[in-house]
């Protein structure tokens, strides 16, 4: 466990309280007497003629979780900018930077697989995710991409932008 925790950020929109009267802690319970299903804060009466719209509930839940993920990524990018771009980090902080950025990018790609599915049909979420992937990749590359040294970059810029 890294000690610096420089990149530990906390989303501001998390930790919703479960509705009162809930007896379970995992978001799912079945009260047979009332014939009601509780699914993470949403409930739907079950009768012979009506079933809960599980697909809509799953979509809503996924969208909420992705918004939380966006908050977390934005926090990571803010720490990157404040503590690494505008200041010189220590080697330990840089090591943690690498770990967190790799993880964030990998998870974003998992999420992209989910929401880029045509059946999910949320192009706005896909677009907002892709911006963040671009920003995370840039943040990673500045310090950890070995294909271009600082000297090489300076030479390129001198050639392309002569004084």
């Amino acid at each position: 466990m890294p000690s610096a925790q420089t990149l530990s950020v906390e989303s501001t929109s998390r930790k919703r309280k479960p509705p009162q009267g809930r007896r379970d802690s995992v978001g799912f319970s079945l009260a047979k007497g009332l014939r009601k299903v509780f699914l993470d804060g949403m409930n739907a009466a079950i009768s012979d003629s009506r079933v809960p719209d599980i697909q809509a509930q799953a979509r809503d839940l996924t969208k909420r979780q992705i918004e939380q993920w966006f908050d977390w990524v934005d926090g990571v990018l803010e720490v990157h900018r404040s503590n690494f771009v505008f200041r010189e980090p220590t080697p330990a902080q840089l090591a943690e930077h690498k770990t967190v950025l790799k993880l964030a990018i990998r998870y974003c790609l998992f999420i992209n697989t989910l929401i880029a599915d045509p059946e999910f049909n949320e192009p706005d979420l896909v677009s907002r995710l892709q911006v963040r992937v671009r920003q995370l990749q840039d943040a990673y590359d500045i310090f950890h991409d070995t294909t271009l040294s600082d000297t090489q970059a300076e030479e390129v810029l001198k050639r392309v932008f002569p004084k």
Binding site: A4, Q5, T6, S8, V9, E10, F70, D74, L77, E78, V79, R81, S82, N83, V85, F86, R87, E88, S127, R128, V131, R134, Q135, D138, D141, I142, D145, T147, L148, D150, Q152, A153, E154, V156, L157, V160, F161, P162, K163
Partner: protein, 75 residues
């Protein structure tokens, strides 16, 4: 510093300082400035140019007197 390079660095700074839809808007503006450079540098790798400019942005950031506040570790 070359004025065109400075303009591109400042365009990246706007993208870096913003989030979500606003970041998307500024990133597009930054990318279009790179495209303009590429039109007269057909033998240059766009990826190399992009990474070089972002490294230059960091050098610029380190020299700034006004910096965003450090974000402390989580308690």
């Amino acid at each position: 510093m070359n004025r065109e390079l400075e303009a591109i660095i400042l365009a990246y700074e706007k993208a870096s300082a913003s989030k979500d839809k606003e970041a998307e808007h500024y990133l597009l503006a930054f990318e279009s400035l790179l495209d303009r450079v590429m039109e007269r540098q057909p033998n240059l790798s766009r990826d190399i140019l992009r990474k070089s400019v972002i490294k230059a942005h960091r050098k610029w950031a380190l020299k700034q007197d006004s910096k965003p506040p450090t974000i402390p570790p989580k308690a």
